[in-house]
């Protein structure tokens, strides 16, 4: 770890478990149409220096979870229950001033669209220097030097001159690099990257992903990497959590989840994704139906209306009982472990080619 002296937001209890620990998190929004349960009973842990990939479709609650960690939700319409512990410090009940000391310092975020996340009114250098000044108390001059150094590190050519440019003078890939520089300027312990490459072209995406991986080795931050692209997650993450309709449905190391997936939704995702080496004679196998509305989510297992393996579970447990996700390697499904294994090996694996 490269963490240096940093003002702690709160005293760290001696028995602090994982670096980041989310326990039974519920987030709901009040809307005109009713209450949207965006996150519904989510728990996960993250160790220092590891990368957790969260994969899911739009509306699965992956972004909301991470906005809640940083306290970026609108408290007027949002109800948050459960616990988010960062080094033992509870974040859901933390005061705004405490969160302010964390944001951009211990926890930093990279957003999907760098053009809307950067201010058009200030130079790129100033936007990178600002959090550094605020959190370390550095002088203006030192902070500017640090901004130039960071821009150089993330691969902006002529960082000295480009630091005084405005975001509109940067190309899409360079803006995302500037965002990464801004996120890493205070050497954060946790970096949340919310679809950081979705808006980029594929060759630029490859550059940025490799850059993030290399920088993580240097800075030693833990990363939460949110994406809908299984290919990107396979490339980036140590562990994967698959989310569906506000909850985690499968969790494990990257190799476990991709090579021996256990949840029907993960099978569906793998089967529906065209790959460069997939069999062309067979059509893609999409998941039938559409993701559920979170205003009125399905009873029991959230995935049951789209699941083709429902009839293999005794009784109608899928409709009545919500399957739980055990800690560590697990999947939230009523199929027995043996059934999951057999179905994957005999029915899913052959189709993946």
């Amino acid at each position: 770890m490269t963490t240096v002296t940093k003002e702690a937001g709160a005293p760290v209890p001696a028995d602090a478990g994982a670096f980041l620990s989310v326990r039974d998190l519920h987030v709901s929004f009040k809307t005109e149409d009713g209450v949207v349960k965006a996150v519904d009973g989510l728990s996960f842990d993250l160790e220092r220096g590891r990368t957790l990939g969260i994969v899911g479709e739009s509306g699965s609650g992956k972004s909301v979870t991470n906005l809640t960690i940083l306290g970026l939700h609108n408290p007027q319409f949002t109800t948050v229950e459960g616990e988010i512990l960062l080094e033992g410090q509870e974040l859901t009940t933390a005061r705004e001033s405490q969160l302010e000391r964390l944001r951009g310092n211990k926890v930093a975020m990279i957003f999907q669209d760098p053009l809307t996340a950067l201010s058009p009114y200030y130079t790129v250098g100033r936007q990178i220097a600002e959090p550094f000044m605020k959190h370390t108390g550095a002088s203006k001059k030192a902070a500017w030097a640090r901004a130039v150094e960071m821009l150089g590190k993330v691969g902006i050519p002529n960082p000295k001159e480009r630091a005084s440019d405005y975001p509109h003078q940067f190309s899409g890939g360079m803006r995302q690099r500037a965002m990464i520089a801004m996120a890493l300027v205070c050497d954060p312990d946790l970096l949340i990257a919310d679809e950081p490459t979705t808006a980029l072209d594929v060759t630029v995406q490859a550059q940025i992903l490799d850059l993030l991986k290399d920088l993580q080795q240097e800075f030693g931050s833990a990363i939460i990497f949110i994406t809908h692209d299984l290919g990107v997650i396979a490339d980036m993450a140590d562990d994967i959590m698959v989310m569906y309709a506000g909850g985690a449905v499968e969790r494990g190391t990257t190799a476990e989840v991709l090579r021996s997936p256990q949840h029907p939704y993960t099978w569906g995702l793998l089967n529906s994704m065209p790959r460069l080496d997939s069999d062309l004679s067979a059509p893609l196998a999409p998941i039938p139906g559409t993701p559920p509305s979170l205003l009125n989510p399905p009873s029991g297992c959230r995935f049951h209306p789209r699941c083709t393996f429902q009839d293999r579970v005794d009784g109608n447990r899928c409709v009545t009982e919500r399957p739980l996700l055990a800690p560590d390697r697990a999947s939230a499904c009523h199929l027995t472990a043996e059934q999951k294994h057999t179905i994957f090996v005999e029915e899913i694996r052959p189709r993946l080619g």
Binding site: T203, A206, D210, E218, G231, D277, P286
Partner: protein, 375 residues
């Protein structure tokens, strides 16, 4: 869902399969850039598409891939004549339609249809689904047997929607369902060519596969030719018989799917393929690891594209010749029939891992050197 397609084959199929349906040569579109004070005048041009040649055969699906700003969408819009070409020639079934007027185009417009990227902005929110899909028939004065409504209900069934949805409005549907409505509208006139501009990139993965399958069925069962424009190489590979790769307004490589994906020759095609993030599903990989190429920077501005070969500023094989001489799009020795490449110094036809990765990005190269040093 769409097991039994009941649509009749396109009208008067006098052009047999395999014959060229659409031929484009030297197609160019320059958008003027205005500026200056006090009199605004043209001070330059965005060379969006700059002299491309392509042929789409009857019943064929032709993929056009490239990164944003390479001119693939402009090409689609030129072919459907939504934009007026600056130069070049478009001929459809032997008839020159490059600058054809409204009257001459009318019969052809019904044969070339378009599916748009954004299923939200491409459907009129104030019209019912029935009205949207029957619109093209109304405009062209087509009265199918049993009436337009019956035909619309048939079309809804073909694209996997409930015919009961006839009187609903677009906002009642999800993104994937809206895209199906767009497909039904494109099919309403029994077209021979559909230009699909990024038809699935706005959709979630699980829904994307549904729409790709639908388009594939439509293409196979009805023998409709497709110009499939997309940035996702895996989707294009799945859908297209032949593929053209575009870079900065030019086609740099074109050929059969297998040839382009397994035996690419142009350095840019190599870089594109190596940049696709892939899920490695089995531990013992049969094909061996893929090559790793990381380009530096972004695509240059199409207002002032590099001289000679347009890729040379980001290419690791570029030499003086590349700056002075534009490489012609030709069949190189070792290429399969019909596989054309525009490069002076082509790469080996293989995508397997090289002895040394090609990392042109200076920041990446520096960071990786540090790691090697420390290790």
């Amino acid at each position: 869902m769409t097991e039994d397609l009941v649509l009749p084959a396109p009208r008067d199929t006098d052009v047999p399969a395999g014959e060229p349906l659409l031929e484009v040569s030297g197609l160019t579109k320059h958008f003027p850039v205005k500026g200056g004070f006090p009199i605004r005048r043209t001070i330059g041009a965005v060379q969006a598409v700059d002299g491309i040649d392509l042929t789409v055969h009857v019943g064929e699906s032709f993929g056009l891939v490239g990164e944003s700003g390479c001119g693939k969408s402009t090409t689609g819009r030129l072919i459907t004549r939504l934009l007026e070409p600056t130069a070049g020639k478009i001929s459809y079934r032997g008839q020159d339609i490059t600058h054809a007027g409204r009257k001459d185009l009318a019969p052809i417009r019904s044969e070339i249809q378009m599916i748009f990227q954004d299923p939200y902005s491409s459907l009129n929110p104030r019209q019912t689904v029935g009205k949207i899909i029957s619109g093209p028939m109304e405009i062209n004065g087509i009265n199918p047997e049993g009436g337009r409504e019956k035909r619309v209900r048939e079309l809804l069934e073909i694209v996997g929607l409930n015919p009961e949805h006839y009187n609903r409005f677009p906002h009642e549907f999800s993104g994937g369902q809206r895209q199906r409505i767009g497909v039904a509208r494109a099919l309403a006139l029994e077209p021979k060519l559909i230009v699909a501009d990024e038809p699935v990139s706005a959709l979630d993965v699980s829904i994307q596969a549904q729409v790709v399958n639908l388009l594939q069925e439509v293409q196979r069962e009805l023998g409709i030719a497709f110009l499939f424009i997309a940035h996702d190489l895996a989707v294009v590979r799945h859908f297209s018989h032949r593929v053209a790769v575009m870079y900065l307004g030019k086609i740099i490589e074109v050929g059969d799917r297998a040839s382009i994906y397994a035996r690419p020759r142009h350095p840019y095609t190599h870089a594109l393929l190596s940049a696709v993030p892939e899920v490695n599903l089995s531990e013992a990989e049969d094909a061996g690891p893929r090559e790793r190429i990381r380009l530096a920077g972004d695509v240059p501005s199409p207002i002032a594209p590099p001289s000679g070969c347009r890729f040379r500023t980001r290419c690791w094989k570029a030499q003086d010749k590349c700056a002075t001489e534009e490489p012609p799009l030709v069949q190189l020795s070792g290429n399969h029939e019909g596989h054309l490449t525009a490069c002076h110094f082509p790469e080996e036809p293989s995508t397997e891992a090289r002895e040394e990765d090609i990392v042109l990005d200076p920041a990446l190269a520096a960071l990786e050197e540090d790691v090697v040093d420390e290790g």
